[in-house]
Subunit: 152 residues, 2 copies
Amino acid sequence: MTSMRGSRHMERALAEANAAAQRGEVPVGAVVAAPDGTFLSAAGNRIRELADPTAHAEILAIRAACEAFGSERLLGCDLYVTLEPCAMCAGAISLARIRRLYFGAGDPKGGGVEHGARVFAQATCNHAPEVYGGLDEERTGALLRDFFAARR
Amino acid sequence: MTSMRGSRHMERALAEANAAAQRGEVPVGAVVAAPDGTFLSAAGNRIRELADPTAHAEILAIRAACEAFGSERLLGCDLYVTLEPCAMCAGAISLARIRRLYFGAGDPKGGGVEHGARVFAQATCNHAPEVYGGLDEERTGALLRDFFAARR
């Protein structure tokens, strides 16, 4: 992250991830920032709580930001997320026209940006955000490792 | 489709797609069927209406079926959709553990099953449904062609 604001957004995403863990959800958090860098929306995973397989942090944050924005396109907006998005979320990020994607730990098993489906790298991908991955990897990765270690 | 019930579900998906076109949405419709083949949920695109880039027919039908089912996993359930799902929807189909995916026209530009991200073909894909594509292609394809032709 290049700005103070950016690192504040990632802090908020980490707080959302921690809150998700408290709810028994896989700890992932996301924040959408407006084109001027101000906060628009934040969410953590709520898959179990809502019994909704699409209730990933990124999807919930994007939907909330669209509601705030009054548009299905978040032109110029940026997404901060603690983990590499999966294929579903990468698809949603493209459809929402997110400008920049900042993410924490890479996810070799479930990721769809630098791994697996590599959604943005496909020739047919209509809109690919600028991607900045592997941010604050020590903390964002530890969050997940601790969560899964505690459940084994 | 091998059964009378299957073709009824695709008829319903086509009706949802037509209704979506009436609302000015890209005409795509989807139906989720329970493990015994009975109807669970149906939806058409509502992207513009809801100002929600994730409001694809498949996502809305899956979310409604999960609500009816009371679970974030639709084990043994089948999805019928008039068009090849995009990467986002293919990801959701995998996360929801859909058993069989039946779709109408293939979508070389936006599809994420047989084209583009090929989500289910990735080694990291945790759950891939059985896929039956290109069903009733004449009608499902014509729906889209007519819709876009009328807007040009």
